[in-house]
Symmetry: C2
Subunit: 450 residues, 2 copies
């Protein structure tokens, strides 16, 4: 007796959905060999049927809810995106014991806990490799390979659009606007690039990564977020001057709190912002629209995962990998690893996170200015790593000079307060550029910070 | 009722075994949370008990075979290495339905098929993430994440010792001997470095990677292998001159054979040798004793995995990841993905594999020499990409010149025959250096090869 086929309901047929369908057909024999049973398409739910005349009519439906509840469906693959109707459809599927494979980062980052609870309650599989960093096998290593280790940090470039823009700015010396226009022209940025350039896409991914890495529920709202629209060509020049480059990072860290209001013990920080990183760091050489994620674990040490973070085929590859896993589980009568949030670590607010600032400011060029500024830093308990006069800066006039200050690590709130207070000083004409510096475990001698 | 503990027999207590024990104790609570049941050590088999007085006496045994067959053992973790007695012990364990986690690359590369068959027959899990590239989660992505995709190439740096040596040679301009001595002094090379420098360690890993990537049984004997002991400081200089560096690569490729003796269709090539690769390739910047593996798949595109390839803690991290997986499977009553060799592709011999050669030769400096040489290449059906006179070479005397020839891709046997025939020419004083060139999908304009 040949094993019963695993039947798949596909929700959505955009760029990713088309590729998933293509791979299901083209790789049918291989998939069957790998799963141990044929994998069949039970139906495809779309919004407008007339746009999909190339799909056999008997597969096509505009009734996604009806498709999900059909008794002959074993697995639901969701590539619609957005919160609703995806959430309702997936909850229905999971409650009915159907395995779910989804690429929906927004939904997972907002309400992954509800989905995970529904999956755990019915024993259904919930897989979402494609939701973060597209084709890069990242969630599975975090969920499974490193599960016997203790992850201390996940930091990476998880948005291709912004990496394309920042790479172009670094390489060609262009400004943000120009680089964004080029990215749009070449298809690396969407017509409305807000979700990418404001960091919201990376924010959702950071929430998913932090949840998995630290076994703690982290939602997008828990993730501090700044985008790249205020990064200037001058920032890239300043970064280069100190042996760095600028990348939009999603950083998830296990923080050991020595005490204070939040109490002693471990907590989690998840944040997204553009930061200077050492040019020698593997993440610095990740160009174009590529993604890369650096993982540090106590026993495993430093790991990096690199690849295409978006696009129809790469995302579909991740979806298919998940589909094979859940189909195999179904054939074997088991299920994959459960979502685990047992650690329930508290989330540290951004203000408490130790960061370093690179501050560029225009000041009066006369005796005592540095002493005044140093005193202000000291009052905010922020320690200065290096101060240098920026000789490459534009002519400031007889009375002006430009200082570049790099701090040691201090709570972000103290650094922000220092910058605000600097702006109030009579001797300071203006604080022009403030960028965080992330060493990511590498010494940066040029910055005087290790 | 709390779930029954998963009981682990540890075979071997060297560097990795000690770390595994440490993590089992230190992470006991986390492991229990992740597995859904406590993970307990049932016993530790060692060769000489008196060297392990820090292990509780009731756990210690010198009777590995007895430990493996104890009814209270659920999982056998093998970190002894070598073919026997490891093979016999693991076969006994698998036949008795016990899950096996092993880091034993030599055994898997020689006789993985027998282990896999025993595992499939009894329904036991066989996991071996730690056998290739230490802490880097690589096998799991190949086995699971990319299982819905079609892998076309796996190429990487999988031996830390040789990468340390080649990186030192490239960076400091030292020769092979000196770099090896330094590596030994710093603990990056063993007292007897043969298995590393002759490529045998990489050869075993290539066999494992090719087997997984192409669902075909590939043993170490199927993998063509050259080590790095003949690489010279001059090779590194020559590589740099054409925008390359030299790395010891393990390359596993899906080859499409257009016809001929081996018949039309797909086949597999697995090979290990030092090669010039473009300096712009992500693998080129992998320094020190780090490992990195580049994977190309039809839908996923290019992926890279980077991390520590050896060492007690990193390897133990990979072992623990596997241990959690098989323990979870046991608690859930299922098993992980089965070994699949359904594709059974033929192995291409090295002679048929299209490669490129970088050839440096000392020739007579007079008219007609180039024509003679070009004619010889043509007779062997090898196409020349670039020829240049090496002006940096040492003074050759009035009658001598040095040519550097880079070929287009041709069957390796044709290239080897060309080199042999070049040596026979009166006009050629000597063929000094021959290194293969691997573009790995990147254009190398300096080499004239795309």
């Amino acid at each position: 007796m040949s094993p019963a086929p695993v039947r798949v309901a596909l929700l959505g047929r955009g760029t990713v959905g088309r590729e998933v369908m293509r791979l299901l057909v083209e790789q049918a024999d291989e998939l069957a060999a790998r799963v141990g049973a044929p994998v069949e398409l039970a139906g495809v739910a779309v919004r407008r049927a007339h746009r999909h005349t190339d799909v056999p009519a008997e597969l096509l439906t505009t009734d996604a809810s009806g498709l999900v509840s059909r008794p002959d469906v074993d697995v639901v693959v969701e590539v619609i995106g957005g919160i609703e109707p995806a959430r309702g459809l997936l909850l229905d599927a999971l409650k009915a014991g159907r395995a779910v494979v989804t690429a929906n980062k927004a939904l997972l980052a907002e309400d992954g806990a509800t989905l995970a609870e529904a999956a755990n309650a019915s024993g259904a599989d919930l897989y979402y490799e494609a939701s973060v960093a597209g084709a890069i096998p990242l969630l599975r290593p975090l969920r499974e390979s490193l599960v016997g280790d203790k992850i201390t940090r996940v930091a990476g470039i998880v948005n291709g659009t912004t990496n394309y823009i920042l790479s172009a700015m670094a390489e060609h010396g262009t400004g943000y606007r120009e680089a964004l226009e080029k990215a749009t022209e070449l298809g690396f940025a969407e017509a409305d690039p807000t979700a990418d350039v404001d960091g919201l896409d990376a924010q959702a991914k950071a929430a998913i990564l932090a949840s998995l890495a630290f076994h703690t529920r982290v939602t997008a709202a828990d993730v501090y977020c700044e985008g790249i629209s205020s990064v200037t060509a001058a920032d890239l020049v300043a970064a280069k001057a100190v042996g760095c480059t600028v990348k939009l990072l999603a950083i998830c860290e296990r923080v050991v709190t020595p005490g204070g209001e939040a109490g002693e013990g471990e907590s989690v920080s998840a944040r997204v912002y553009p930061a200077m990183i050492p040019a020698s760091h593997p993440l610095a050489s990740v160009g174009e629209a590529y993604n890369a994620v650096f993982v540090e674990a106590e026993a495993a040490g430093q790991l990096m995962f690199y690849g295409q973070g978006a696009g129809g085929a790469p995302t579909a590859s991740a979806v298919l990998g998940d589909l094979v896993a859940v189909a195999r589980n179904r054939v074997a009568g088991g299920h994959g690893p459960r979502e685990s949030a047992y650690a329930s670590l508290p989330i540290q607010p951004m203000g408490r996170i130790p960061t370093r600032y690179h501050i560029s400011l225009a000041v009066q060029d006369r005796a005592g200015v540095l002493a005044t500024i140093a005193g202000l830093f000291a009052r905010h308990e922020v320690s200065i790593a290096t101060v240098r006069q920026d000789m490459t800066a534009r002519q400031m006039g007889a009375r002006g000079a430009r200082l570049v200050i790099v701090t040691h690590a201090a709570p972000d709130a103290a650094l922000a307060a220092t910058v605000a207070a600097l702006g109030e000083l009579d001797q300071v004409f203006g604080v022009d550029r403030v960028l965080r510096v992330e060493n990511l475990g590498r010494p940066v001698s040029a910055l005087g910070v290790a």
